[in-house]
């Protein structure tokens, strides 16, 4: 039992290592391949605004709530897709109409988010 157990453990470890390499790999490759001498005239490389002008004032301010509601609609559908991925893997094994109905129900309930956001006027982008 422990062989299969340690086998699974290796799979998980390999999976985590792959994820980590995928995340940190570019930083290492770029550090190795980037040219270390860059040409500067006003050493403004770090400035995050790219229109050529000095940024005026600060952007850390109280935004209107509309942005928050807009982000919520995105998160709702991100979760929706998250649950659909495993379903898609096993969807065409032995197909039963019950699967389809469940899927439609699931997506239907989640699309109520749009109806709610529509009623709350998120998409008209009114100034609060």
């Amino acid at each position: 039992m422990n062989e299969t157990f340690s086998g699974d453990l290796i799979y998980i470890a390999a999976f985590c290592l792959g994820g980590l390499a995928f995340a940190l790999g570019p930083f290492i490759v770029v550090h190795l391949l980037m040219s270390r001498r860059t040409r500067q005239t006003e050493n403004k490389t770090g400035q995050y605004i790219e229109c050529g002008m000095e940024p005026i004032g600060d952007a850390w301010i109280r935004y209107s709530a509309i942005y928050y509601l807009y982000a919520l609609v995105f998160v709702a559908f991100a979760v929706d897709v998250l649950y659909l991925v495993p379903v898609a893997l096993v969807y065409n094994r032995q197909f039963v109409y019950r699967d389809f109905v469940e899927l439609v129900l699931f997506v239907g309930i989640l699309s109520l988010v749009i109806v709610y956001a529509w009623k709350k006027g998120v998409f008209e982008w009114k100034r609060r």
């Binding site: 190795l32 391949l33 040219s35 270390r36 005239t41 006003e42 050493n43 403004k44 790219e50 002008m53």
Partner: protein, 166 residues
Amino acid sequence: METTVDTSRIVQFAKLDELLALSRANSLWPLTFGLACCAIEMMAAGGPRFDISRFGAEVFRPSPRQADLMIVAGTVNRKMAPAVKTLYDQMLEPKWVIAMGNCAISGGPFVFPGQYAVVEGVDKLFPVDVFIPGCPPRPEALLEGIMALEEKLTGKRRWPVVTPPK
């Protein structure tokens, strides 16, 4: 202002460099930096007849972070010079500059005793790789400039130089 790119990297490969140079030469992403009349000829070069995408350079990026070729198309004046230098800094190495038109080369028609506004030549601000004379230069001249830059990068010229018949 030396103009060769000193790519003193930690890891260097002989053969890979040639491949890198070839791939960079054939996918120069210009920065949409049209200042004046030359900008319209640059747009015409992007148009269907002169078709800059034959050289892989049709992707005009507005943001300096994603561009590796700055085509200075027009007059740079003293109020604009700090902005141009900031944009040059924000471009990532390796980066190249094409000075398109007489204004970018030497101030062009706007140089006269007592002129107070025009920077006489972009190479006073940062190193320039290719100069394209003309006011405005024809789109074919811009394409020739891009081919000259490719030759500078890869060392060999992909298209033969067309010599006018004797």
